[in-house]
């Protein structure tokens, strides 16, 4: 579907109007570098550590493109209130974040979760931060698995009895085979010796991020925009191409 000339003219205003860059620093700070960062709550350094999830670092310009598409630019009234539209009446995204539901608790920093719960979403900074959190929530793949219980940091010990297996021990003491193995990686079922002590921490079932969807425009359109704007993916592609002409 062809993008409307009016919409194209609107976003092309961003080529000459620096007001469209007003939130660049905020977005860069939120997304972070794809390496160790002083800002531990930034998304890229935080998620790149979880190698098993296959996280690929996100370019902050993608979020900038979404901001342009979502807001329509600084000439819109919402630019200084809800530029990313989070919190518009009936918006399910805001409810998800406020309740830390649908896995968003694993995506948001505790400070951001608290801010979304207690502060006005009509502040543009918080609105953008909330939108980024919702995007990451929608792009993550979650599963419920046995994880270390962070509410109990005690390291316990258990003595192996005759006939024990790791599964049996884990069930008896309230941990998981994975946790038992993490304390002694060479342990396997065949190496258990009666009387030997194993260290462990308590485990519980919890939600974890196990993977990520492809960060392409079509997936973002479906997952973030929910199929509301049939041109969403094309608009993102257009704005991204437009960025190559930005001379700041």
């Amino acid at each position: 579907m062809a993008l409307s000339p009016k919409w194209i003219a609107t976003v092309e205003d961003g080529l000459s109007n620096r007001d469209w860059d007003a939130y660049d620093a905020l977005i860069q700070s939120e997304i972070g570098e794809c390496a160790c960062s002083e800002r531990a709550t930034a998304y890229n350094p935080r998620f790149i550590e979880n190698v098993a999830s296959g996280y690929v670092c996100v370019d902050w310009m993608l979020i900038k493109a979404m901001l342009w598409v979502e807001s329509g630019g600084p000439r819109q009234a919402s630019w200084k209130t809800r530029p990313m539209q989070i919190g518009n009446p009936g918006d399910p995204a805001y409810g998800v974040l406020k309740k830390s539901a649908e896995g968003s608790a694993l995506v948001m920093s505790p400070a951001l979760a608290a801010a979304i719960r207690t502060q006005s979403i009509d502040s543009p900074e918080l609105n953008i931060r909330a939108a980024i959190a919702y995007l990451f929530t929608r792009m993550a793949k979650f599963d419920v698995r046995s994880v270390v219980d962070e509410s109990d940091k005690t390291i316990h010990t258990v003595t192996i009895a005759r006939g024990d297996s790791l599964e049996r021990i884990a069930g008896r003491v309230g941990t998981s085979v994975e946790v038992l193995k993490s304390f002694r990686s060479e342990v396997s079922t065949t190496q258990l010796r009666v009387g030997e002590k194993l260290r462990y921490r308590k485990a519980k079932m919890g939600q974890i991020i196990v993977g990520w969807r492809k960060w392409d425009f079509a997936t973002i359109a479906a997952r973030y925009n929910g199929g509301g704007d049939p041109d969403y993916a094309d608009k993102l592609a257009f704005v991204t191409r437009l960025f190559s002409q930005l001379k700041r």
């Binding site: 539209q85 009446p89 009936g90 918006d91 995204a93 599963d143 479906a222 199929g227 509301g228 704007d229």
Partner: protein, 178 residues
């Protein structure tokens, strides 16, 4: 009592009373207007449709029959969050029992429902169920009207879906047949 609510109540009672309980066929809604008049408020009451959003599509897609023979209506709802130039869509496929209670729902985003075939609901592209951890365009429902599995079927290559699903395609026929 005003006339319109009275008519709605009468139609609703026909819907609920006409079919016996169990595996008997569900009563047909008399017309599209009646469907809208009855189903829409039922979905608002269950907070599936949010009146603050713009309702842009509400249609009964088809009736699915569970393995135990229970009939469920499959309804497609598409809403837009008002406000931005690129409004967020809240697009869902709903499974409704005879009392119009939503037994399950799934977010369909850019996908659309095509038709039902027995306990299967076929979409034009994959949807995803976080509860099941599965995705696919072939949804199967159980006797409670819950989506129990998602699989893949090549809907685009099926017979009979053009131009307007005048005949229901057989899931057992080879998809490559012209």
């Amino acid at each position: 009592m005003p006339v319109r609510p009275l008519v709605a109540v009468l139609i609703a009672s026909l819907v609920f009373v006409a079919a016996p309980l169990g595996a008997a066929p569900a009563a047909r809604l008399p017309s599209w207007q009646d469907f809208y008049r009855i189903v829409h408020p039922a979905l608002v009451r269950q907070e599936v449709i949010d009146p603050r959003r713009a309702l842009v599509h509400l249609a009964c897609l088809c009736e699915a029959r569970s393995p135990g023979g229970f009939l469920f209506r499959v309804v497609e709802v598409r809403e837009l969050v008002r406000g931005g130039p690129s409004p967020r869509g809240v697009n869902q496929l709903l499974v409704l029992d005879r009392q119009l209670k939503v037994t399950d729902r799934i977010e369909i985003a850019t996908a659309h429902g095509l038709y039902c075939d027995g306990a299967s609901i076929i979409l034009d592209r994959p949807a995803e169920s976080p509860r099941l951890g599965q995705e696919g365009n072939l949804l199967r429902i159980d006797d409670g009207g819950r989506i129990s599995s998602l699989g893949e079927i090549e809907a685009a290559g099926m017979e009979g879906i053009r131009p307007v699903l005048s005949s229901r395609p057989s899931l057992t026929r080879p998809r490559s047949a012209p």
